[in-house]
């Protein structure tokens, strides 16, 4: 609505013409100027400018809804209450039913921890028929690291839903619903994002996976400080994609090394901390998410995958519906599986740390039965 034309807003002709004559055509142009600037530019009095701005604002402002209406709409219009179940019972109940529609969910963890495995499983689940608890829709999978493996995905399917995949041609049908894009550069990625916007609505797409977001950025701009910048547009765009097509969006993020932990303090904290030397000031393998703090603010749900002394954990590090909990998991031939549906609650900085020690191999073949 920001690009709505002023000439079509029903302002009195006299003032509308003044706006047009000064090349202030859209609401964005008008509202980006202060009232005083407008008075100077349009050469009219304060009263006229305020009336015009009030009028434009009222039209541009999106309609309001009550929270009750939102709740009712969500329950009525959306299958499964607007969640994609992950089939990991503990995680599903913590998330009120699964990966929610309309928001961005992030998976972050060290290499080889199972992020791609989780994405593959989610893609498969979204493409399953409704009777099997899927979403019966297409999936767009943007694979920037060339890690997508159809064979592995079908293997997960065969092992988790043997009865379904025994049906002739089912594997083909399920896999045929998953559209994989492999952009090689950030520019190419931006282009494909633009294109899929229309595609999402036309083709009954039920899930968008981006694996991974960080690869593109770290590939193109090596210097740490510019890292936040090139993604500025993408963050807002991906969020609005999720919002308007009402589908879950899952994005993976890599980790990088970080020396020291000084950036996690406010200036007013520093004094008290330096007196309090019991805090370990540096960790040897201190990992942080590759995309910076501005990206972390943008995601609505953050799942951290990590391994501590050989055991893998999936942690719900950021969520507005659940306390932070950690679940031990393993990856078998049937995909990611929780070892325990009762999560361990975490507190403090533990929630956001990412450990990456003592893991071996992505898929654990020993535990299969």
């Amino acid at each position: 609505m920001a690009n709505k034309l002023i000439s079509q807003m029903g302002l009195p002709n006299s003032i509308a013409n003044v706006f047009a004559a000064r090349n202030i055509l859209t609401a964005k142009d008008a509202l980006s100027l202060t009232e005083f600037e407008l008075m100077e530019l349009l050469d009219v009095g304060l009263a006229e400018v305020t009336t015009a701005i009030t009028h434009i604002s009222e039209i541009v402002c999106p309609p309001h809804q009550t929270a009750l209406l939102l709740l009712e709409q969500g329950r009525k219009n959306e299958y499964l209450g607007g969640h994609l179940p992950t089939r990991l019972n503990g995680l599903d109940s913590a998330l009120c039913g699964g990966i929610p529609f309309g928001v961005v969910t992030e998976l972050v963890g060290p290499a080889g921890i199972g992020k791609t495995q989780f994405c593959l499983k989610l893609s498969l689940l979204a493409s399953l028929p409704l009777s099997y608890g899927g979403l019966d829709g297409h999936v767009v999978y943007i694979d920037t690291e060339s890690k997508f493996s159809s064979r592995r995905m079908i293997e997960i399917g065969v092992n988790s839903f043997p009865e379904l995949f025994q049906i002739e041609g089912m594997a083909q049908k399920m896999a045929g619903r998953i559209l994989v894009l492999q952009p090689a550069s950030l520019t190419e990625f931006s282009e494909s994002l633009e294109k899929i916007k229309a595609f999402l609505l036309q083709h009954h797409v039920k899930l968008l996976v981006i694996d991974s977001m960080a690869a593109l950025v770290s590939g193109e701009c090596g210097q740490g400080h510019y890292r936040q910048h090139p993604l500025g547009w993408h963050i807002a765009f991906i969020k609005s994609l999720a919002e308007f097509s009402r589908i879950p969006v899952v994005v993976t993020n890599q980790v990088r090394c970080h020396s020291g932990d000084e950036s996690f303090q406010y200036s007013f904290q520093v004094q008290s901390i330096s007196e309090n030397q019991e805090y370990p000031t540096t960790f040897d393998s201190h990992l942080v998410a590759a995309l910076g703090i501005s990206w972390a603010h943008a995601v609505s749900i953050r799942l951290v995958l990590e391994s501590r002394s050989g055991q893998r954990f999936i942690k719900l590090a950021k969520s507005s519906v659940s306390p932070p909990v950690a679940f031990p998991f393993t990856i078998t031939t049937s995909g990611i599986t929780l070892l325990d549906d009762y999560g361990v609650e975490m507190s403090g900085p533990e929630i956001n740390t990412i450990c990456g020690q003592g893991q071996s191999g992505v898929i654990n073949f020993d535990n299969d039965t």
């Binding site: 609401a27 604002s57 929270a67 709740l71 406010y266 972390a296």
Partner: protein
């Protein structure tokens, strides 16, 4: 007072000055037709200018007769009374309410910032629910406007918090009002949801528009007592080339919000993100949007991790001292820190 300062268009004031009308007093006895002729403008325009001038002039005249009573000013004594009468919205965390002097105060703009996942949105939702607590339970019995720029507002969570709030009120009834068995809590969780007006904002233009529009909206919905912007930062952080423009727009927005807070005596809560800033040889966390923005809010609360506990720190306030208090985000919403009242595990 000079003609230059009149809220009229630039060309009109230029014409006035070139015709020799530089001060307001020189305009006081001019006839509209005379002025129109002299400036070469229409008579209607001339009447408009004189009207504006006489309104401005009026203020000055009263100044001279009653030197103490300037139009629109109040004595500090009156303000004290007003401050005492205006309400507070409880945060549901008693420790934090204590250091805030009873909760988030109305008529003020309060900024709350912190790292991702610390509970900013939780605070926003909690306040949107708490503002509706009926006056017999010490609440404001108001409604809430929630402006969501990030899409992080979760209705499921609102209904959880609203349910917990209703339960708290029922408990209060059963403990303290045994003599009034008939007086049941009439509010249902769904009533809470129906009193939260939700705006979803998708660009910074819409954000400016909604804040301009709020004045009209709130004069139609007089019982709105809190406006929550979650977050003020998001759209201004993405894709903004012209930093000077950003500062101007944010400044204008802050002024409008402040005016709104005063005019309708409501609380304005702005949620802000954090960024890292290089100072004194190391990176430090600080709230986003830069130094000039930090002047815009009356109060500033920073949420941070202290060991294993979440703390809220009052970074800036004109009336209360800087202090910090622990809080916890529980299944029922924001509560006192877990070390004091152990919460029941959710699963």
């Amino acid at each position: 007072m000079e003609v230059r300062s009149l809220p009229i268009s630039a060309s009109q004031s230029a014409k006035l000055i070139s015709a020799g009308y530089t001060s307001l007093s020189s305009l006081s006895s001019v006839l509209p037709s005379h002025l129109a002729q002299e400036l070469g403008i229409s008579e209607n325009e001339a009447i408009g200018i004189l009207k504006v001038a006489s309104q401005r002039g009026g203020v000055e005249i009263t100044n001279q007769t009653h030197p103490t009573i300037v139009n629109g000013a109040q004595t500090a004594w009156d303000m004290l009374h007003e401050e005492e009468s205006c309400g507070h919205i409880t945060t549901s965390c008693a420790d934090l309410d204590d250091i805030l002097g009873g909760g988030i105060s109305c008529k003020e703009v309060t900024e709350i910032g912190g790292v991702p996942g610390i509970g900013k949105t939780q605070f926003g939702i909690q306040l949107a629910v708490n503002v509706q607590i009926p006056s017999k339970y010490g609440g404001l019995e108001g409604k809430a406007v929630y402006i969501d720029t990030e899409g992080s507002f979760m209705v499921e969570r609102v209904s959880q918090i609203a349910e917990a709030c209703v339960k708290d009120m029922q408990e209060y009834d059963s403990f303290l009002r045994k003599d009034l068995p008939a007086d049941q809590v009439k509010l249902q969780p769904y009533d809470f949801l129906a009193n939260i007006f939700y705006f979803r904002i998708c660009s910074y233009t819409e954000q400016i528009a909604v804040i301009n529009y709020l004045e009209k909206f709130i004069s139609e919905h007089k019982d709105v007592k809190v406006v929550i912007v979650d977050s003020i930062t998001f759209h201004f952080r993405q894709d903004f080339e012209d930093m000077a423009l950003r500062t101007r727009l944010l400044g204008g927005m802050a002024l409008k919000l402040m005016k709104l807070a005063k005019k309708f005596s409501l609380a304005v809560i702005l949620l802000n993100q954090v960024t890292s800033k290089y100072s004194g040889g190391s990176f430090q966390l600080t709230l986003a949007l830069g130094d000039s923005w930090s002047h815009a809010c009356t109060n500033r609360i920073i949420l941070y991790w202290n060991g294993n506990e979440r703390y809220a720190y009052i970074d800036k306030s004109p009336s209360i001292r800087s202090a910090s208090a622990p809080y916890a985000v529980t299944g029922r919403g924001i509560r006192n820190s877990a070390s004091k009242c152990k919460r029941v595990k959710m699963m």
